[in-house]
């Protein structure tokens, strides 16, 4: 590489894009249309966001038969970056035609079609490859291409037949050399339901391609099962657990499934003796759990499948034995979870007796490390079988006190040895948290107090065991419930989520920070980080091509499916829309000199495409990351996002409400679409009206669940309806009679919003700001008023002023009503500001006041030194966090309202 070229690369690497452009132009002045420099110039222009010019530059050299690998790879990079990767097919086609003996170009052409999934062309090039460059790999590429086509259209019998013949031919010619290649033949047989043939294939010589014996046996076991050859399946699984992997649970289950399929009432003795022999053979070294839990599984099946209740006592006794053996391992709870569901169905007395037996197995010596681990398992079992359900506050607190004492004792005696480790008793604190959350959910009056205490317990856990991310997960949840969003965000930051985790875990926080003016800048940063991940997915087709090159055929369809899931991510769609909605909000307030139109011009049609259904999204959110030890009957009370429809996730224990999430996204996209349409003067009245109808329809789908949300919906609809009607009046003199009514409605709605905020601003009978208030003000006041101010400013430019010479009577009336509305809005904003300012002071004062509720509150959170809890927990810090967060957020809100008032006054 010459110095000038390396200069360009260096400038690009150091993000000196202007410098890179200068260097490119300097070389091109001497070597006009040098293809590599032209491509580098295109890349540079793309970085400078001059996309049309960049594409034009690349196109000038791309289709003139490039053969140099560097040019081709840079072109690939460039077209991918401008979302025109399909052009690479043409690039390669032309290059290959010009150099028909160049195998690498033929392969490049094939792989370019792989990347864009143009199967038809892929097939053509594969045929060509096999003809001109006959190699086993090219045969395999052809077969995989057929499988891709069948995957897209499973009804295509012609292709299925072709793939069968191709597979047979390759097998006959010994062209399959490993299990990745054989995978294709197996798939061809599976597609046709040819299970017997598949079995014979694996049993035969080609089965030897499974060089890892257990992999072959697992395939055989599954095929025998499919064919109903349960005895053979049992033998295959048995061979694995007795000869190779005595701890492989899937094979124990495969074995038991087969045994029970042969005979619904198998011999317990036979099964037991097999398991005992495995236990005996694996008794040296570290004890394996598989053979012991298998003992419980057999008894579980004797009770639940064979219906022999007489095994129940033995079943419980075996659980006790298991606990005795493995009770010090954190995994014991997860191992037993399934079996505890049987115990859960017992009477309370029976369950208590069961738990008592477990407790007898817990070491009584708290100076030994075993006790805390066993206690953890004990309390998790207690919760899991329902013995922590519906407890009185006294009962729950008795458990919490014991838990905290045990935890503290253990922590003192056995501090963390490695800073990256957890304390073994950490799960006890989660139990304490769950108990307090239960109390909070059961008793509205005690809710705030219980949650504060629960937060203090989790903070204590976090301080004691800082690398246990479970504390961060639950602290985020609880601080969001308490309205301490910044504190919640702090714990989100501790998690340090990266890359794909923005897709799977972003929902934990994004909903809340997009509603908190004090965190808007953090929200922006989070959006940017998340989009970096989604851009990464643009490279996934390159790795599908890599699968072809490396012969990893089992991964091709899997990777393409994954690519689609990321591309169709619901979370991604929400981020895209909300990023624009937030930008609109912030631009309006923070940067009045930037025309709103400029921002709205950047909105992509996909950000406001409202024609969406649940089916088109992939819900990739990870809901299983937080530990829970709840009984099967436990249902998490829906976490209501008071005052605004949740943007990201409505979650309960069973999963997520994907339909509501889709409806909400649709509603938000329609709002964005309306704003974009308003910004575009070419939008016709009919287009406005059509979108307004969509808005109404989307609201119909969402309304009726929450009073405040309903008010927000009605207010929002009024705002846009008013705009459209005024537009109609100004342009067509239509709807004169409706306008006064609409103004009246909107003023009424606005006053209702104000009253709603005032009524619920403080937490019941206290001086504390309601945790949901800040969120509610942002969602129901700031955001809709931002839209209103934008719409009114647009109207203001269309409407004749009072002083205008050419005006109609209705123009005067309109202007009067317009000004009256603005006055009401400005007054309303002022009243909320007054409320905020007053309560900010109250919040501070409440720390020292002695009013009844506050006294009760502070007695609870720490002044009662008789409670051991108070010695350990710093509830004051939690309260201070809530106060600080609220104060800062209210201050930001007040600033926004000031700007808002000024903005409305300007357009008066």
């Amino acid at each position: 590489m010459n110095n000038k070229l390396s200069g360009i690369y260096q400038a690009l690497e150091s993000h000196n894009h202007k410098g890179a452009l200068k260097l490119c132009n300097a070389i091109l002045a001497k070597k006009k249309n040098d293809p590599l420099v032209m491509v580098l110039k295109a890349i540079t222009l793309q970085k400078l966001n001059e996309i049309p010019e960049a594409i034009k530059t690349a196109d000038q050299v791309a289709f003139s038969g490039q053969t140099h690998e560097t040019i081709l790879s840079n072109l690939n990079y460039f077209y991918k970056s401008v979302d025109q990767i399909e052009k690479m097919c043409k690039v390669y086609e032309i290059s290959y035609k010009a150099n028909p003996k160049d195998e690498s170009l033929a392969k490049g052409t094939f792989l370019s079609y792989v990347k864009v999934r143009d199967f038809k062309q892929q097939q053509q090039v594969a045929i060509d490859l096999n003809k001109n460059f006959p190699k086993p790999l090219h045969n395999l590429w052809y077969l995989m291409t057929l499988l891709s086509m069948i995957n897209k259209d499973p009804t295509n019998k012609l292709l299925v037949g072709l793939s069968q013949k191709m597979s047979e031919k390759l097998a006959a010619e010994n062209k399959f050399t490993n299990s990745e290649e054989l995978f294709m033949y197996e798939t061809v047989l599976d597609i046709q339901g040819k299970v017997e043939e598949h079995l014979q294939l694996i049993k035969g010589k080609l089965g030897d391609l499974y060089t890892v014996p257990t992999e072959r046996l697992k395939v055989l076991g599954a095929l025998y099962t499919q064919l109903g050859h349960h005895a053979d399946a049992a033998e295959a699984y048995k061979e694995i657990i007795t000869k190779y992997e005595p701890d492989e649970w899937s094979c124990y289950m495969g074995y038991f499934d087969s045994i029970w399929a042969i005979n619904n009432s198998p011999s317990y003795q036979d099964l037991s003796s097999l398991i005992k022999s495995i236990q005996s053979e694996t008794s040296t070294g570290r004890p394996l759990r598989g053979p012991y839990i298998a003992e419980i599984e057999v008894l579980y099946r004797m009770i639940t499948v064979t219906k022999q209740d007489s095994f129940y006592e033995q079943f419980k006794a075996t659980i006790f034995e298991y606990f005795k053996r493995f009770g010090t391992k954190p995994i014991v709870y997860y191992d037993l979870k399934k079996y505890l569901s049987l115990v859960e169905k017992d009477t309370k007395e029976q369950k208590s007796a069961f738990l008592e037996e477990i407790f007898k197995l817990v070491s009584t010596d708290n100076t030994k490390p075993d006790r805390i681990s066993q206690l953890c398992a004990y309390y998790k079992i207690q919760r899991s079988i329902g013995l922590q359900s519906n407890l009185s506050e006294t009962e729950a607190r008795a458990i919490i006190d014991v838990i905290l004492q045990e935890y503290n004792t253990n922590k003192t005696l056995f501090p963390i040895q490695q800073s990256s480790e957890r304390l073994p008793g950490d799960d006890l604190l989660l139990i304490a948290y769950f108990l307090l959350a239960d109390l909070a959910n059961a008793n509205a009056d005690r809710k705030l107090l219980c949650l504060v205490e629960a937060a203090a317990i989790l903070e204590y856990g976090f301080a004691s065991s800082p690398k246990n991310f479970q504390f961060n997960l639950y602290l985020m949840q609880i601080y969001n419930r308490l309205g301490a969003f910044q504190k919640a965000f702090h714990h989100f930051e501790v998690l340090n989520i990266k890359n794909i985790q923005w897709d799977t875990l972003g929902h934990l926080m994004m909903d809340h920070i997009t509603r908190n003016p004090a965190l808007f800048s953090e929200t922006y940063k989070s959006f940017e980080k998340s989009f970096k991940f989604y851009v990464e997915n643009d490279s996934t087709p390159d790795f599908v091509a890599e699968c072809y090159k490396k012969g990893s055929f089992s991964k091709i369809l899997e990777m393409q499916k994954f690519q689609d899931k990321v591309a169709k991510s619901h979370q991604k769609a929400v981020y895209s829309t909300e990023r624009q909605m937030l930008a609109f909000l912030v631009f309006r307030h923070k940067n009045l000199t930037t025309p709103q139109k400029t921002q709205l011009d950047t909105v992509l049609p996909s950000d406001h495409d409202a024609d969406i259904t649940v089916e088109q999204f992939s819900f990739n959110q990870d809901l299983g990351v937080a530990d829970t030890f709840h009984p099967s009957t436990y249902t998490t009370p829906a976490i209501t996002t008071f005052g605004s429809t949740s943007l990201f996730l409505n979650q309960n224990e069973a999963g997520i409400d994907t339909q509501t999430l889709t409806n909400t996204l649709q509603y938000r996209r329609i709002l964005l679409k309306l704003l974009v349409q308003v910004s575009n003067t070419a939008t016709t009245l009919d287009q406005h009206t059509a979108t307004q109808t969509l808005l109404k329809e989307s609201i119909d789908k969402l309304s009726g669940k929450n009073q405040i949300d309903d008010l927000l919906f009605a207010f929002t609809l009024d705002i846009f309806t008013l705009y459209i009607n005024i537009l109609d009046l100004i342009k067509n003199t239509n709807g004169k009679d409706n306008i006064p009514e609409l103004f009246k409605n909107i003023i009424n709605r606005f006053n209702q919003v104000i009253k709603s905020i005032q009524d619920s601003f403080v937490y019941s009978n206290s001086t504390f700001v309601n945790p949901n208030s800040t969120r509610q003000i942002t969602a129901t006041l700031i955001e809709p008023l931002t839209w209103l101010s934008y719409l009114l400013s647009e109207i203001n430019t269309l409407m004749p002023s009072k002083k205008a010479k050419k005006k109609e009577e209705h123009h005067v009336q309109l202007r009067n009503e317009y000004e009256a509305l603005i006055q009401v809005v400005v007054d309303g904003c002022a009243s909320i500001q007054l409320l905020i300012t007053g309560k900010q002071l109250d919040q501070q004062l409440s720390i020292t006041t002695d009013d009844q509720s506050t006294a009760k509150y502070y007695q609870f959170i720490g002044l009662d030194t008789a409670k051991p809890l108070s010695a350990l927990l710093n509830t004051n810090n939690v309260v201070k966090s809530i106060q600080d967060d609220t104060r800062q957020c209210l201050s930001e809100i007040s600033n926004y309202l000031t700007t808002m008032k000024s903005h409305f006054n300007q357009i008066k």
Binding site: N178, S179, E180, T211, V212, D247, E248, W249, S250, R286, L288, R289, G290, I293, K329, P330, I331, Y334, D335, K337, K338, Q418, S420, E421, R422, K467, N468, F469, L473, L495, I497, K498, N499, I500, Q501, D503, T504, L505, F533, E536, N537, S539, D542, F543, V544, E546, C547, K550, S552, S554, K555, E558, M559, F562, K565, V566, D622, G624, V625, D627
Partner: protein
């Protein structure tokens, strides 16, 4: 009570209970895609009976001639599933893949010199220190390159320790 299977693309959506752990890195998407596309038999995921991810191993096959070997890139187990022998099982599966699928001479891995817990663990699994790589971890800390010979290396030549430490540039990484 563990099921070990091949790591699949969709595991990236649900490996958070492992990856949120302080010492486990969540890489860029192309990193995982590269491994999945190149060495599918050397990537394994362990699940508990409830389908909950317990831990995983990511490895690759690399080298030339007698240096052709399996390499452990990442081995991680979620905190609640530690000390039950899971790492041992995952390593065994990677070793089996390195031997029977890739026909390698040995398996190697890099570990921080200060991570005595991990070094002891790998010793138990049959790994010995082959060499020290100076400043391997961002120039801050040395790495120990630990190896275990596979049956193909009949004379166990691959694990004869080097007498002197090497710099990353000389380590043929």
């Amino acid at each position: 009570m563990t099921t070990i299977r091949r790591f699949v693309c969709d595991d990236l959506f649900k490996f958070n209970s492992i990856n949120l752990d302080f010492l486990t890195e969540t890489y860029y998407l192309p990193f995982y895609c590269q491994y999945l596309a190149s060495w599918p038999s050397l990537l394994s995921m362990a699940e508990d009976v409830n389908g909950r991810p317990m831990g995983y191993i990511l490895g690759k096959a690399e080298g030339e001639g007698e240096n052709w070997h399996g390499h452990v890139t990442a081995l991680t187990v979620a905190p609640e599933y530690r000390r039950i022998g899971l790492a041992d099982r995952l390593m065994h599966i990677l070793e089996e893949g390195s031997e029977k699928v890739h026909n390698g001479y040995f398996v190697d891995l890099f570990v921080r010199k200060s991570n005595s817990l991990a070094i002891n663990m790998y010793n138990k699994f049959g790994y010995t220190v082959y060499r020290t790589v100076i400043g391997y971890y961002s120039g801050d800390e040395d790495a120990l390159d630990m190896r275990k010979a596979l049956p193909r290396d009949v004379e166990k030549k691959s694990i004869i320790p080097l007498k002197h430490p090497v710099y990353p540039t000389d380590a043929d990484l």
